[in-house]
């Protein structure tokens, strides 16, 4: 009858093996839980950033943009999502019409009545096309409405009770045309 079931030694060995295997497993589960939370908020941050950048690119009136290079916090501060924080910081930079050049083609005059009947080009236009460069102000006669505006955005996130880290951030860059 003494040989029935498991021996004490066998049980002790099994418990020791279980303990040895479970210690790193618990550590892995714990770090996995933290990482999952960070990854989840990273995904939320990407969605928020996309939404905000779309607003700055297409919705907001550039008249209301902050001054050049001035830091503007979207939402007035971090977004709080399930206790996690997402902070979106935007700066805009205007390209002045007086110093920003545009290039455009200038066609050499040719007598189209004789050489281009009905609108069909009868010449080699490549040799009759020159390149001109002017400032936007010269072209539009407007120095007050900057036509090109750079928008830079920094997005960062953190879980509760952790510090802001350069690892948990990304940037978006866009250029808006002011039509």
């Amino acid at each position: 009858m003494r040989n029935n079931g498991t021996t004490l030694l066998e049980v002790l060995l099994a418990v020791a093996m279980l303990a040895l295997a479970m210690i790193p497993m618990f550590g892995l589960m714990s770090s996995s839980n933290t990482a999952s939370r960070v990854q989840k908020i990273e995904g939320v941050a990407a969605n928020l950033a996309k939404e905000e950048m779309n607003k700055w690119m297409y919705v907001f009136d550039p008249v209301n943009f902050p001054n050049d290079g001035v830091e503007d916090f979207v939402n007035g501060g971090p977004f709080i999502v399930e206790g996690n924080e997402v902070e979106i910081k935007v700066r805009v930079y205007r390209h002045q019409n007086t110093s920003t050049n545009v290039k455009y083609p200038d066609f050499v005059w040719h007598d189209f009545r004789t050489s281009c009947p009905g609108g069909t080009e009868g010449n080699d236009l490549d040799s009759k096309t020159n390149e001109l460069t002017r400032t936007i102000e010269e072209v539009t006669k407007d120095s007050t409405k900057p036509r090109l505006i750079d928008i830079a955005m920094q997005v960062r996130w953190r879980t509760p009770n952790t510090a802001w880290s350069d690892v948990n951030r990304f940037f978006l860059l866009g250029r808006r045309g002011w039509m």
């Binding site: 279980l18 497993m25 990854q39 995904g43 700066r91 083609p105 609108g119 090109l148 990304f170 940037f171």
Partner: protein, 191 residues
Amino acid sequence: MKRSNRRGVAIIIVLTFITGTLAFATAMFYFRKEVKQQNVVNVNFLQANFLSQSAVQHALVKCRILPQEAYDSGMALQGFCPLQAVIAGQTPSRGTPSARAMEIFIGDCNTTAIPWDSRIQSDFGIDLNDWKYQVASMTVIAAFTNVVDKEFVLTSQIIASGTVIERRGGRGARSELMTKTIELTRKITID
């Protein structure tokens, strides 16, 4: 004396359990890694996509401030004379197409000709050489005369690309293309 066949069963149960848990932990680890990669890919896509949108915006601004030149470049691309209007209702034959005007027109719609504001680099600590866009082409996909409104209509397609190198995740360059179709018209008045 009869020996029990349950001898050593505890170790077998424990080993089975540990193997199962290890498999679960490994699967969890790889799933987590994949989610992490997916996040980086999503952000990378956003960055390149907004750059290509910027290129389209740049081209649209040029069409807005230089509408005649945009139209004429399209006409030249079709082999029509930019100095005179095609009369509405007529179907003129095309001459030799010239791409030079359009090349000039879109030639500065990129971050090389008009670079990002240099303050971005110092304010955000990013390398602006990693962020590029350009208008790859602007082609005419349709040209016709609208007899009723007495206008010549060009339908033009802008193809723009944005490329970013995101240092986070070390995934290298990511490019995105964007296509925008616009309509350019020229009114014709005949005395």
